[in-house]
């Protein structure tokens, strides 16, 4: 290992750039292959697009706050809706999870970097330019036709509606190419994470001693490798249709009108689990530390996640109950969808078991985790309701569905992303985030979230369809929509508190020290922020909680595991 030489070069480089202007420092970030910097860039990029797509969501809510709303014209509304959905999945959810895994996996397994650092940088820049391409469509999507700017076909981009005759201009092509690029980037990261977890673990860390987060990252990475290609393949087919006159989704030439839906949801449903399993991973690291207890049912937790990963690949057509499949088809996908509830329920009981009898510390990461537990349970329960095909027929394409999946995407994933930011920010920057500002963020976001998405369930049950740009007065939807929009405003305010908190704490936050939470995994054994080489000496591990063993030599974990 050329560790010491690298170290000297790194130190020298830092000394050089101290005197350099901003450009020199920027150059360092552009050429880096360090997993921590790339991880931070993923997360910062994700948060940047979170603000943009969040503002788009607030514009949508402003338009829908009152009946006969006139804030934006219908075609702009369709673009807002498409860009909000696409960005939140591929430009926010994905980079934040790959960012955290990038940052944490090598630190948690006691390695100096991921298995393929340059591939990692390649993946990031693919994602980055893919992401820019999506928003660039606002400037260039017109093509030569004057046919409208950004994509307006929904994040699912159902063909044949996205075929050339029905979607003129280049906006749909921007959607295809942008998402294709970000998917290839995610594939590179996924290969990296699995190869690192399998080949780079420090001495003594057998597979059964890996932190739960690393296990879950491996499951997520496997899912990415299997389910991102169907979307990419379908996108290639759509491109061939649009540019070379192929007929994959061309009903005029005998093509199928629902083949795209199958291909898309083969990707689309597991994608939800790709996004939510990292939330499980954060919860499985944070809840034990703030309950001062070892995680309840480690191996069951891992097994349940693998089960979710496998089952989630056979449930896609529950997005298509209204398409008119055969009764056996409907029954199969309804049963499979309900089956996912079993391992998910196991996980919820495991977290409850971890909290049970613990010495709880209600710091910010724990507050967000507790909200996550409750909200994810509700999201799971409405998920079971929607898995019942006849019930789904009744509420399909209504705001009940919107409320359900926002309960997962916001109530579970975004809440745990916030928890993870509060938990690992001290490690990445060496400074704590402010508790008071954080409490404002938490309560505003929590109340805002429930105002918005609890009420939207009822708007959906009253028959409010999805994707409409306005509605008429006198249909019992006014109050619910107004409350939902006020909630959206509160969530926006909450996020503003996070932004202020991050900027303030970067400058003047309390110094964190190496291990501010008295935690147990390896990332807390090195300095905050960690040096470029992570660990001066490769660590040796004897149990799942190496730092507990260090701090409590009289009662180490490895005696019992």
């Amino acid at each position: 290992m050329a560790g010491t030489i690298d170290q000297e070069i790194a130190v020298g480089a830092i000394d050089d750039t101290e005197s350099l202007p901003v450009l020199g420092k920027l150059h360092e970030w552009v050429v880096t292959v360090d997993h921590k910097r790339l991880g931070l860039m993923y997360i910062m990029g994700g948060l940047f697009f979170f603000l943009i797509a969040g503002l788009q969501a607030m514009t949508i809510r402003l338009q829908l706050a009152f009946p006969d709303g006139n804030v934006v014209p219908p075609q702009v509304f369709n673009r807002l809706m498409t860009m909000h959905g696409t960005a939140m999945v591929f430009l926010v959810g994905m980079p934040i999870l790959t960012g955290f895994f990038n940052y944490l996996v090598p630190l948690m397994i006691g390695a100096r970097d991921l298995a393929f650092p340059r591939l990692n940088a390649f993946g990031f820049w693919l994602w980055f330019f893919g992401a820019l391409l999506l928003y660039f469509s606002y400037l260039a999507g017109d093509g030569l036709y004057g046919a409208g700017s950004a994509p307006d076909v929904g994040w699912f981009a159902y063909a044949p509606l996205t075929e050339l005759p029905f979607s003129r201009g280049n906006s749909t092509d921007y959607w295809i190419l942008s998402i294709f690029l970000t998917s290839v980037g995610s594939t590179a990261t996924a290969i990296n994470i699995i190869a690192s977890a399998f080949c780079m673990r420090c001495e003594g860390m057998t597979l059964s001693k890996m932190p739960v987060l690393v296990w879950l990252s491996v499951v997520v990475a496997f899912m990415m490798l299997v389910v991102l290609p169907p979307l990419s393949a379908a996108q290639v087919m759509l491109l061939l249709d649009r540019f070379l006159g192929a007929h994959f989704f061309d009903t005029q030439a005998g093509g199928s009108a629902i083949l795209w839906q199958h291909f898309f949801w083969i990707f689309g449903h597991p994608e939800v689990y790709i996004l939510v399993i990292p939330a499980f991973a954060f919860a499985s690291e944070i809840i034990p530390v703030f309950s001062r207890k070892v995680i309840f049912g480690y191996s069951v937790m891992v097994a349940a996640t693998c089960a979710i990963g496998i089952i989630s690949m056979s449930v896609w057509a529950h997005h298509m109950f209204a398409v008119g499949m055969t009764p056996p088809g409907n029954s199969f996908f309804a049963a499979a969808s309900m089956l996912v509830g079993v391992p998910t329920g196991i996980k919820i009981f495991n977290w409850l078991g971890t909290i049970w009898g613990g010495k709880l510390r209600f710091r910010l990461p724990m507050l967000f985790s507790l909200a996550f537990l409750f909200q994810f349970l509700v999201a799971g329960l409405t998920g079971i309701m929607l898995a019942v095909a006849p019930f789904d027929w009744q509420v399909t394409d209504t705001y009940f569905v919107v409320a359900h999946f926002h309960y997962v995407l916001v109530g579970a994933i975004i809440f745990m992303d916030f928890a993870a930011i509060y938990y690992w920010f001290p490690k990445a920057t060496g400074r704590m985030l402010n508790e008071t500002l954080g409490k404002w963020h938490f309560w505003l976001f929590l109340i805002g979230f429930h105002l918005t998405f609890d009420t939207l369930h009822f708007a959906g049950l009253r028959g409010m369809p999805r994707r409409i740009y306005t509605y008429q007065p006198g249909r019992g939807l006014e109050t619910l929509n107004l409350i939902a929009s006020i909630g959206a405003l509160m969530q926006g305010l909450g996020v503003l508190f996070l932004v202020i908190n991050v900027i303030r704490s970067l400058r003047s936050g309390d110094p964190a020290g190496n291990d501010p939470w008295d935690a147990w995994t390896l990332e807390w054994s090195t300095t905050s922020p960690p040096p470029e080489y992570n660990f001066a000496e490769a660590p040796t591990v004897r149990s799942r909680r190496p730092l507990w063993d260090l701090k409590h030599p009289e009662d180490p974990d490895w005696k019992y595991e």
């Binding site: 290969i191 080949c199 780079m200 490798l225 061939l240 030439a253 005998g254 093509g255 083949l259 291909f263």
Partner: protein
């Protein structure tokens, strides 16, 4: 690292030797994700079998490319022989087998090009003719793209070998490339069965 000298016997070295080689894990994962990508095109091909509204149909214009198939599949054997000679330290034998692999791959690609030429200019089948053309050219073309990428990489190694840069230290990396080549061959078996056996 798998290439650690065997004289080192510290526990740490033993530990890292017991872990799998990252190159092999990486290429297996790439193969996994590529298989998923191919399977969607195979599904589309099978799904649209017999759904074309107009001709030409597969049974009229396709004939199994037996020689191509033999060449491509035997290139998997020659690449194994090449790696084996490299492991044994014989760079010259390696270079010969590696060149044979390249030549066999090139023959396959040429065969595909000739078949496409015949289909386009004599049979009038293009990607926009009918569903058969759409699915045929995209599936076979996707495979040909992978053969092309593999051939470029094999050519790169060949050039480096000619320039004298090849030695035993590169065994594992070259082996990783050979795994990719085996994958391309295995996919051809699936494509061949789908297009020329089941689909005809």
């Amino acid at each position: 690292m798998a290439a650690a000298p065997s004289t080192v016997t510290t526990p740490a070295a033993k530990w890292s030797k017991a872990l799998p080689y990252r190159g092999h894990v990486g290429i297996l994962l790439l193969i996994l994700t590529e298989s998923s990508f191919f399977s969607i095109f195979v599904v589309a091909y099978v799904f649209y079998l017999g759904k074309s509204l107009s001709g030409p149909y597969p049974k009229d214009v396709l004939s199994p490319p037996i020689l191509n198939t033999i060449c491509l599949l035997s290139s998997s054997i020659t690449i194994v022989l090449a790696i084996r000679s490299l492991r044994a330290g014989s760079i010259r034998t390696f270079a010969i087998w590696w060149f044979v692999t390249f030549a066999l791959g090139l023959e396959f690609l040429t065969g595909t090009a000739l078949e496409w030429h015949r289909l386009i200019y004599h049979e009038g089948l293009t990607i926009s003719t009918n569903l058969f053309g759409t699915t045929y050219y995209s599936l076979v073309g996707l495979h040909a793209l992978h053969v092309t990428i593999g051939l470029l990489l094999i050519l790169l190694v060949l050039i480096l070998t000619m320039c004298g840069y090849m030695n035993e230290r590169h065994v594992e990396r070259t082996d990783v490339l050979s795994w990719y080549w085996h994958f391309v061959d295995a996919v051809w078996i699936v494509v061949f069965l789908t297009v020329y056996v089941i689909g005809r």
